[in-house]
Symmetry: D2
């Protein structure tokens, strides 16, 4: 009933034995021993272990109001600006361990749970029991340090929520088939459950569809352990090619498997149901909880760490290749510096202008965080491109760790060294640059960041519509044009 250790995390996942398929075969045995999962689980275990370092405890944990035990700081509901800063400090520590490559580091979902919990009373209006369920579930997650993933994107064939009648039999939208005394029975599928296999539980909420139906089979929110009967995970191709962190410095540590999660007549017990049928409530849950703003506060910490890592890689390439004297090199590095400084400033501004919401939660200013979430999908792929543009042929000619303990080692050492760096050091750097910018791992990274918050329309529209300041600017120009008569008087 307290914070987990890394070993506890690994044991938990290994014992759950969810139904997982990879390349046409079921995953058997300990998940933590499987090539596709062991790297990321080790990284995640390291995060949990950090919580127990004595000197970090004050920032990594706080006392559970229910158990009195120390629990993870990312579960803390912030009530003051200082709370926000403490939360952020904790999130920075974890982000600097995984350098921003874990999209599903535990603080992400912990923050999401916190935001829903903070606004749980919105459910009181219609269904007090659901409000109670949500609060209980949050406390359970916090006090047991539950590792969560979530799903909300449905397969494309299911997208046409408003044309279900037309689609008839073909419709495969995830839905409540039946309500029983024990719970709701759900069938359907969700795309891209990232780390679904390496989490304990799954929070499930389809993106809100338009409408005000109070009894829609498509509107719900619930949480389930990922080994519940009827749930199966179908993995995409694994991008882990080996355990060598020399050969595969990123994928051997950070490859987060994405899965198609299939629900086949899954019985979700009532105490795990938070919304059932009420379309408006799905909307309001997101809006009133400031979900996007709270998770954005976590994500920007991750993205700062990631940008720092890319900038460090670029600086290392500049150092090894001795190309600091070229304007076009400086321009490319400066692009990344500009992004980094933007993100850091957005973070500061969001905290400086934070304010209390109706529930008494301290919410960061959404404007700079939404700006950040608009910026990052555009600049991240460009950062990877810059790594390619600076690394050039070094990123193509990548020998392996084994080469350096073989008879060709002498040739490599002679021909691949730099003026100030050994060949093996260069190869380690270039393999990192390769994984980051030109490998399947890097490709998935680019896609992940491009579409993290939805497609272009969704992201742009969210930013545009939510940006209240644009009305003030409009008024300034209207005033300016109306004042013209005064100005045309004589001097």
């Amino acid at each position: 009933m307290s914070m987990k250790t890394g070993q506890q995390y690994i044991d938990g996942i290994n014992q759950a034995k969810p139904c997982v398929w990879l390349d046409g075969k079921p995953v058997k045995g300990k998940i933590s021993k499987h090539t596709a999962f062991r790297g990321v689980m080790k990284t995640q275990a390291a995060l949990y272990d950090l919580q127990h370092q004595e000197k970090l405890k004050p920032v990594m944990s706080y006392e559970s109001p229910d158990t009195g035990q120390p629990v993870g700081m990312s579960f803390l509901r912030p009530k003051t600006r200082e709370d926000l800063i403490t939360r952020r400090t904790m999130m920075e520590i974890w982000a600097n361990v995984h350098h921003g490559f874990l999209g599903r580091a535990p603080d992400y979902m912990n923050t999401a749970m916190m935001s829903f919990y903070s606004a749980a009373d919105v459910l009181n209006e219609h269904h007090p029991q659901f409000a109670e369920n949500l609060k209980q579930y949050y406390a359970y997650c916090r006090d047991h340090d539950i590792t969560l993933s979530h799903v909300f994107i449905q397969p494309q064939i299911s997208r046409y929520g408003d044309t279900l009648t037309f689609l008839g039999e073909e419709a495969v939208t995830t839905r409540i088939l039946e309500k029983t005394s024990e719970g709701i029975i759900v069938s359907g599928a969700f795309l891209l459950a990232t780390q679904g296999v390496t989490a304990d539980e799954l929070l499930v909420y389809p993106s809100p569809a338009p409408g005000t139906n109070e009894n829609s089979p498509y509107a719900f929110m619930f949480a389930v352990p990922n080994n519940l009967k009827g749930i199966s995970f179908i993995c995409r191709q694994s991008l882990v090619l080996g355990d060598s962190s020399f050969n595969f410095p990123l994928s051997s540590r950070y490859e987060e498997m994405d899965t198609l999660v299939v629900f086949d007549h899954v019985l979700v017990p009532w105490d795990r149901v938070f919304i059932c049928g009420d379309q408006i409530m799905v909307f309001r849950m997101f809006k009133d909880s400031h979900f996007h703003t709270h998770v954005n506060h976590q994500i920007i910490c991750k993205n700062i760490a990631k940008t720092e890592f890319v900038l460090g890689t670029i600086q290392y390439l500049i150092e090894v290749l001795e190309i600091e004297g070229h304007l076009h090199v400086l321009e490319k590095a400066a692009e990344v510096m500009l992004t980094l400084e933007s993100l850091k400033s957005f973070l500061i501004a969001s905290e400086v202008n934070a304010s209390l919401d109706q529930w008494g939660t301290m919410v960061p200013d959404p404007a700079p965080l939404t700006a950040a979430s608009n910026l990052f999908p555009k600049v991240f792929p460009r950062m990877l491109e810059i790594v390619q543009l600076l690394g050039v042929s070094g990123i193509i000619m990548i020998p392996s760790e084994n080469d350096y303990s073989s008879p060709v080692s002498a040739d490599l050492s002679k021909y691949l060294r730099g003026l100030g760096s050994a060949a093996k050091e260069n190869t380690a750097l270039f393999r990192l640059a390769w994984e980051l910018s030109a490998s399947s791992f890097g490709g998935r990274e680019a896609l992940y960041e491009r579409f993290f918050f939805g497609n272009t329309f969704t992201v742009t529209n969210r930013f545009y519509q939510s940006y209240g300041y644009k009305e003030i600017c409009l008024q300034k120009v209207k005033n300016f044009l109306n004042q013209r008569k005064k100005n045309t008087d004589e001097t």
Copy 2:
């Protein structure tokens, strides 16, 4: 011996009668009556008048330590974070009057003078009298509310500072010809004295040339009234086409004339000399005074106001043209919103992370401000392009104010109206969009912002070299690659 009024400003300029040439003819009579200058002078006068509004006084002024009189807030040397915020609040008020179109609003040079004054003691090392001169001059400017301009860019033929020997007679670099008991005699020219004609005085300092010469004729810093014997201003073409603020909403108010300033054996009295011959001191004056950082704090306020004005114009176009439903329109507006939110966050971050320098002055964090000065030259021309892209044919088909009081008014009113807006209102908006994005005024604006802080190399190099955080990022990646052995252990 206190803050100026607008009328005092106008009278001062009119009485000075500097030597000014425009289109081959000397400018005679009151400068404030001349088409090329009257608009901008009226705007500037309005700024000075604002200082005297009773309710604004607390933020617009402070008490002079020498005279006890209220003096302009932008002269205040900040010693606390609150001082920075008060200074910024004052600068925002002025920026919202000229909407960022005045590059030489008085607070710009007031801030520059403040920064040099704050570090005046650096001159004590070699020439205590120069330190004293600078302090006295600052106090004079502050207590008399002197309107300043400055010059530092030399004509291109003069650039080759280090090849002067080779150029021989051809060299035209501005230089000290002679030192006399009364002062120094200077000849040469500077490009682009913006508002040189509509300011009282000129601060003169050539960009520091490389070298450590202690007796260079090319290294100096001084200030002179702009009607001093031997100084003449040659204007570029005026971009003012008329006084009608309907026809020319921007140029009729904000056109800041740029001039070539020629010094022909000008005697600069010793008490106006701050540096004389010492090349290293020119460098140190800039560096130790945090000149770039302090003026950047003023400039970012101006650029926020300017971005707000462009965003307002864009929103007005969207409203009148009813094009809010198009993704590509939202994307373009969102680009400008992203810039605005970036600048606002940079400003906040620079203040949050401000720190005291060796002289006890509170200096904003340079990193976000340098990032801003790297960003703005790239995005500003793009903003103007967006105005073009949204305004389309409306920006071409621009009738005039006279048309609306002529027999064709009925036709215009019929054919140029919008569904929700009158034709004349539309034309006013489109003429604004035209001046902003497709007129000679807009063209000069684009050039001004592109090169405000120097060419691409200068700006990029300044950002790259000064960005200390890149070393930290480099170290992170080096540590990451060095830690690989630990990670390859068994799970």
Copy 3:
């Protein structure tokens, strides 16, 4: 009854005395003497005079089949690839006189008339008399060397062609009010009649609206002299600031006035009516005549000349500023070279793959020409930006011709010269760079080219839908994926 001379062109315009309003005042007296029009008319007159140069006659003219007199080559209906090449050679000669700055050089509308004439028989299906009218009108234009402009864009308030019922009284779409024995009576307005005032006649055809109405008041095509009763031209602001070709090298020669043309109960005689009421025929006229392809063949010649002019300006800046050693400078010049070489190759490819249409007209391959019309609006504004980026402060500091004959001439000559160029030569170049890239003339140029062929959607959609080759590519990939079984066999 033959090709015009320049003087005949000027006299014709002066005698027509159309109803023209500029800045609230009617234009009286000779149009060729008016500041706003005299420059472009002189340029146009020079084009007509070129037709009469003895050695150019073989390429500039051919024998009229009706009169046996030499007529302008751009009226020639091409029946062979050689005809296309001769037409192009003639168009290149004119384009090299106006360097691509005349969007309404006479060959543009001559080509348009030729394309409609070539497909006149499409009108035979419904209205043989209209086909005859069109043929007669083409012959009239050809044999009298009529200078034409055209209009088709309606004011925005009128755009909602399909919501006319809703708009009711508010609708201002140009329409046929009545058909009488003499002709049709038309009221309404068109935007942007470029050179409407400096042409003899106006070809009028609203953009085809969707629908198959055979009796629509909004579907028509006709031609009228521009001094017909009821037609008035309302000019936008003139961008001509003076006659000095030193000060204003482009606008003093090439400023083409845009106008709002108002039709107030204009009686169009039946022999000038080509389509009346038939919506489908408007579509077919455009499609079957290959209008876009033929005019694109003229436009690409113009745009090649324009690109050459910009590249020449860039090379001149590089020479004077001695900046050929910088990579970023070469990259910018290379961008323009790439555009130039693309346009030249598109032109060649369009002729190599030309083919006869159903009427026996040799039509250039539309694919490369449509590609060109997709490329140019994007790259032209960028070319102007490059001129700004290379010209830097020289484009701001622009003295005038008068300055060079005034007392300040000596100072200018001293301080504005280059190492290898005199100050006045530099100023002439920089004023050209200014007009091109940062003046109101340049702003209108950017807008004109951006939207020449319609907004982004129109241009993109036209290219995408018309590009038949994309189906072939799709099939290649489908075949590739279907053939996978073969490839997985053993080696």
Copy 4:
């Protein structure tokens, strides 16, 4: 003594048994059986087999002047425009087999050999024997259908050709150590011998270094079989993950291994030496042979095929995802269409304006081909980005061929299908889109095309310096500015 079959090609490679290292282990056994090589060899074999298809023979082959046997058309030295077109037709046929993914399809090096052979007489000036050697070697390659690769890039540590003295012992530039009666002894290394392992022979010529040394150990050109004593190939990581063309449609067929080639005291017999010591001759060989132009003629055929393949993939995604209705989708497809049409037009223009060189060889116009080589490195990575942007989550969620024959097949078929396409068909397309745009194969493709012709500076400089037309444009603008006096006369 004639054209090879695919089997002959495979047998030849298998029998040669060059020294190859991969992942620290020597490659033993038949190369055509090795995972890393078998796919590309099968593709290459298919190319050779095509030469023997009866109906293709006229275009695939011509009669050897030496043996009278049919030999590969890409060896043909073109003497007429028709020869160029026949060569191109043949190259298109091969390119449509490998869809542009083979950078080292045999016609590439065949063309290179042809270009050097055509200018072999340049060697006559100093060393007639070398000229003879080159001619003999060309004939040998042609008549035995030798499969070649080439190397010219040296490791970065070796780059500092002009600072060799300084580097002293550290210098590792490839060099002639000794000349013996049998030949020259060479040591050193070259980067990126693409398909070095799967070719018969290697053409070796370091990039020309500046200087006029006639006895430089660093200036040479020779050809060797790749199993010559002392030559070893060190492979980069293989990107082949499996033979399934469903899972890996591209890498299973087209992965061209890049290698570091090490020369350790290799004896090159005199009859294989073409240049020895003469730095100027290395320059002249490239220049006088029009090497870049001839290979560009081959490369543009390859790049057209590649662009068509990407466009087809994009159209397939548009079809399956039913997104043709979105402007931003059309814009992206139109970008690729513009590139395709540009390349096709460049190809046509290069042939239309081809001309005979001093040796009587018909050389395509270099300007459009150099433009193409400047364009492609920029647009190719963007094309891959477009595939990512359109494929979105489908590119992440990629099940495998095995999944479709496992118990989860039913779920996949239900949830991953489109409205008009089966799930397995979708997955096949998305796996193609993934390999193309987001896999290690795609990453290497992006790098390969970005830097095919050198870094930015090299490519830009080559285009800029070689583009003679820029002088003509410069002259046009100078004439324009000089003619101003005429134009200022009265009308």
